[in-house]
Symmetry: C2
Subunit: 655 residues, 2 copies
């Protein structure tokens, strides 16, 4: 069967498919730790009696010597008695101290790994959490060189860095992860496209343009709308422009109409900065895959997610993406192949297009943690930030799979400048804090600006459908204002209300176990459309188990089971004739491929109990309660047994 | 039914049972934020050209004014333009900067809430992560007073603080959470016992002792072994001593033999420090419940956990505790009641004894985050640390329930002094990093000491049973060395090998979906003991679904279902006579209370598919793959349909 081959393959994220990593953990001497202790003492003294003594402790020369030591002796040294206590002796230097750097610091603090950041802004988000923050430009050669001397390993939170310097540093033996070669390829989007097409990665057709004529020819070749992109310094859609017609094209290039088409044509900067065109990809969804590569070249993929953009900026991420498994598999393979073609350790983000005809095309790659992976902090066994640190310092990669069934990430983008913007964000966060499974992240950026990423909210829970409802109520979207009802976990359906006197027992049991339930009349023969829409939408609405009862020629359970991947429990209801054997056989004797979990005739109680046991597969509390139920039932029978023993059978019967 | 009443009650941790919290989030003016920006600039300057300018920025007077402002104007002020960007304008002051303070800082950084700590050790674990660290004793009145002035709210990570000062500060209007009154009650264990017994909380009998005679009388009254406890400054079992006989008693009290009985009799310090005795509680398990209370007095309980101690120090925590639901319910109620009797917001830990006769007795309470709640960082929707912060600053409490079915926390206790101790810890962490779902926490304590809490490892996964196996392999325990096999999720059992030709189809399907499976012969009639032990142990071994096949008088599925809370799928195997109808009816027609999910006669394929659907309840990936399987099956049928249409029925038949 076609599915077999797909299903048998292990997903790349399979935990065991990894080669044994070369582990280098050492509790180890780095004198900067002393420096840090001194910094604290001295800083606290100052707090206590405003003395400003021992500024020499901040002597940069000292600082540099210190960390050059730690670098030169990366491999092994044990002759020092002041150990670094973290999971790695390597000091991780990050070029850039934005929210990505901040979240790297948060992950590092668990492992007590020291992270230092280089960022021009004194109040950059990572500043307060980094072991040290060097104020300076990661695009300035001298600064980067000085910074690099203080790191055991150098990595990035942005690809827009001075790559020439990184290459020079690598020649001097500085350890950059990922490699400078990778960053060079990625920071030039045109070079990136060339590289990936050479490696047989599917992507939209593209070509370089140097003047209006070439652009027009491209327009004739690819048709319109036509994507015009700047090669460099482009992110969050900046540097992309769409020309809907040849007319717009020319006006775009003389930079007049383009200002309207895209609000930052300035960055595109005309042919001088280098432009290329891309054939418009008729995508129906944008997907993304975070891929991690260890220093041992082991590669693991995170679950495929759907990304939803707003004005070209990531706005919402849904994990896992609601696309057929075949598509997830394909997206995984493309992402895996793309990252295999690059050099160096760390996590990478692969942005993809899913086209109408089921193709996966590569959009672009980021050589760092990415907005599409923020949900992993709460939803995966290993967050993308811990993973990036594990990778660059040379620890084994962690399990990237999800520990919750679903997650939704919502970006807090500045909706206004200054205080009004803070107000809007704060009102949203206040509502988020009321939502079960919601976590609010605030990046502590000094200024609020429109469209700026100020923080994000992650929702985790039983299904993307349920989380979508929670997100909409958080945003007070139409029809979701102040919605507090619990989404039903079990759907009880029956062919007619005449089955209700039997089916009610299932509802009673579920009610007794505190499981939210909905009860509906859905007939296979009299309301086939309703039956179809109910069954095929149940999963997305968060239903986890369906109980279907029917009598006579009981087709409802089987039909429902054929329209949903959820487990379906069938209750044969005794009809006027044949004592229910007809219902039983028409429910239980399903063809291969479509199972119905059948219980005894009229025994909806057992259907309810079976549903609770099924939910127990993902709910330890329910399993424990089922255990309790069984013990109580036993005790109940034992008391009757004891009564019979004491009273004797005659007295027992006469009561 | 007895169970009904228990099951119908909502667990205290039920998310919706909370009164609407009084929310106070405000992006708000606190000049210390400016102070912080300046500190960064100034610090980074220093890094770059060793200038030590602007130490005045650390002027404590300035700092104090600053935060007194922020305190006095807690309620509302909007006339300042430098906003605090976090989820709360309150600066949280923590007395103590150990690992609990450190993990509070980690939680605070997500929310950008500013935490400052008071701790005597310059390199205390919280020092590197706190917004500020004031070096000083939290037992010194003047220091605490100065510190308090800088906080919007004052809280603790230890109960051994100068409570008189806190009471004085409260009179001055300083906001302490929890209240000083609560800390006074808790820091004196005798007072604590008196308080809780007054409030009708069940606990072991106890009495104050002032001399040897009273102690002997207590011994006669309570019998031996007898617990002798110091009233104050006792934690991690320090200050507790066990006298096995009256003989040991006297020698204990003249402090000779006691040194052997407990290694820190010094802290017990004889009658001078105040002693009391406790009747020995014959417990079979120690349980703990983290309870959170908001400023609005809403109370939520975390799942009941089992704590395992080693030399009186918390060593392993299992969540949820493997005890009957009735016991969990009881533990929850006792914990809820205990905390309701105290004043103030925050999280509290309630340590409990489970006695042989199914009683729950209160051991002691901690007014702060607790070792038994560390697992919540990875396993619950809201960690105990985020919860404590939400509580003390007045944000709504988060959902305390578990987002993973199970968690095990393992304390990294110093096993040796200095470098050798680090080595042992590091080897263990290295193994932990290879385990799926394992997270290593290192507290970055400057010195390694025997029995000292240096860090912890949390394992999360599908069941406590599976995690126990992983923990043992991590510790290289007997029989678990280098164990890498995946624990089976589905158990396929059959009455005899003659059923195998049918049952193999279930194994094939599960194999195709990549679900780990075990296949066993277990006969209800020929090996009843084996059947009993298999069924009753399946859940703890991590089995999530059982498929049982049998022919003729097919009792196996029903018997297995009666011995486990797991969902059981029954496959009627056609016997030589009656065409399988006998098997079908003896499997499906189960009495009320014991459901078996029955499939068609000989249709083990559907049993396998049904098992996959059931696992899909807690595994979104499997659900998506089932969806794919259904699509592929449809396509497969459609191709045949198309072939028939094209070739015509005769040609079709003749192929």
């Amino acid at each position: 069967m076609a599915s077999k081959q797909i299903l048998q393959e292990l997903k790349p994220s399979q935990f065991l498919s990894r080669p044994p990593p070369s582990l280098s953990l050492r509790f180890f001497s780095v004198s900067i730790a002393v420096d840090n202790r001194n910094r604290n003492r001295n800083h606290n003294h100052r707090l206590r009696h405003s003395s400003s003594s021992s500024s020499k402790l901040y002597n940069p020369v000292f600082a540099c010597r210190t960390s050059r030591d730690s670098h030169e002796t990366d491999s092994s040294r044990k002759d020092d008695d002041s150990p670094v206590h973290g999971l790695s002796e390597k000091i991780v230097g990050v070029l850039g101290g934005g929210q990505l750097g901040r979240m790297l610091c948060q992950a590092a603090s668990k492992m007590a790994i020291k992270v230092i950041v280089l960022d021009p802004s004194e109040n950059c988000p990572a500043s307060a959490l980094a072991y040290d923050h060097m104020v300076g430009s990661f695009d300035d050669s001298a600064t980067v060189e000085e910074f690099a001397k203080r790191c055991g390993v150098l990595t990035v939170e942005t690809e827009h860095v001075d790559v020439a310097t990184l290459e020079k540093l690598e020649q001097q033996g500085i350890d950059c992860e990922p490699k400078a070669s990778t960053i060079r390829i990625i920071q030039d989007k045109y070079l990136q496209k060339v590289h990936f097409s050479r490696h047989g990665i599917p992507l939209p057709e593209f070509m370089e343009i140097n003047n209006l004529e070439e652009t027009k020819r491209a327009g004739e070749l690819y048709g319109y709308p036509l994507m015009i992109k700047g090669k460099r310094l482009a992110y969050d859609g900046r540097g992309n422009a769409v020309a809907k017609s040849e007319g717009e094209l020319s006006s775009a290039i003389d930079g007049v109409h383009m200002v309207i088409v895209t609000w930052d044509w300035r960055i595109l900067g005309g042919f001088g900065r280098g432009l290329y065109v891309e054939k418009w990809a008729p995508f129906i969804k944008e997907l993304a895959v975070i891929v991690a590569r260890g220093r041992d070249n082991s590669i693991l993929c995170y679950p495929v997610v759907e990304t939803i953009h707003k004005e070209n900026i990531c706005h919402i991420v849904k994990a896992p993406a609601d696309v057929p498994w075949r598509i997830r598999k394909l997206a995984n393979d493309v992402a895996y192949k793309a990252i295999s073609s690059l050099e160096g350790a760390g996590v990478f983000a692969v942005e993809l297009f899913l086209t109408r005809d089921g193709q996966i095309l590569l959009n672009e790659v980021a050589p760092r943690p990415h907005n599409s992976g923020h949900h992993t902090i709460e939803s995966c066994y290993t967050s993308q930030f811990e993973q990036h640190l594990r990778a660059v310092v040379g620890l084994p990669l962690g399990d990237p799979s999800m520990k919750t069934p679903a997650a939704i990430m919502y970006n807090l983008l500045g909706e206004d400048e200054g205080e009004p913007g803070f107000k809007v964000a704060h009102q949203l966060i206040a509502r988020a804090l009321e939502i079960p499974g919601a976590t609010a992240h605030w990046y502590d950026k000094p200024e609020m600006r429109r469209q700026r990423k100020m923080g994000h909210i992650t929702l985790v829970g039983p299904s993307v459908g349920v989380l979508e409802a929670r997100r909409k109520s958080m945003l007070r979207e139409e029809g979701y204002e102040n919605r507090n009802e619990v989404a039903p976990r079990v759907g009880i359906v029956m062919g007619s209300d005449s089955d209700l006197p039997v089916m009610k027992d299932a509802a009673r049991i579920l009610n007794m176990f505190g499981v939210s339930t909905e009860v509906r009349i859905v007939s296979a023969h009299r309301t086939p459309e309703l039956m179809y829409s109910y069954a095929s939408s149940a999963r997305e609405r968060g239903i986890q188990v369906i109980i279907a009862g029917a009598g006579g020629a009981a087709h409802l359970p089987g039909m429902v089971a054929s329209l949903t991947p959820l487990p379906v429990i069938g209750v044969p209801v005794r009809a006027s004739t044949l004592d229910g054997i007809d219902s039983l056989l028409s429910i239980v004797q399903m063809p291969r491929g479509v199972p119905v979990a059948t219980v005894a005739v009229n025994n909806a109680t057992n259907a309810g109990l079976l549903a609770v046991r099924m939910l127990g597969v993902g709910d330890a509390d329910l399993l424990a309660r089922m255990n309790q139920y069984q013990e109580d039932t036993r005790d109940y029978v034992l008391t009757k047994a004891e009564k019979l023993r004491k009273d004797g059978w005659e007295a027992y019967l006469n009561q």
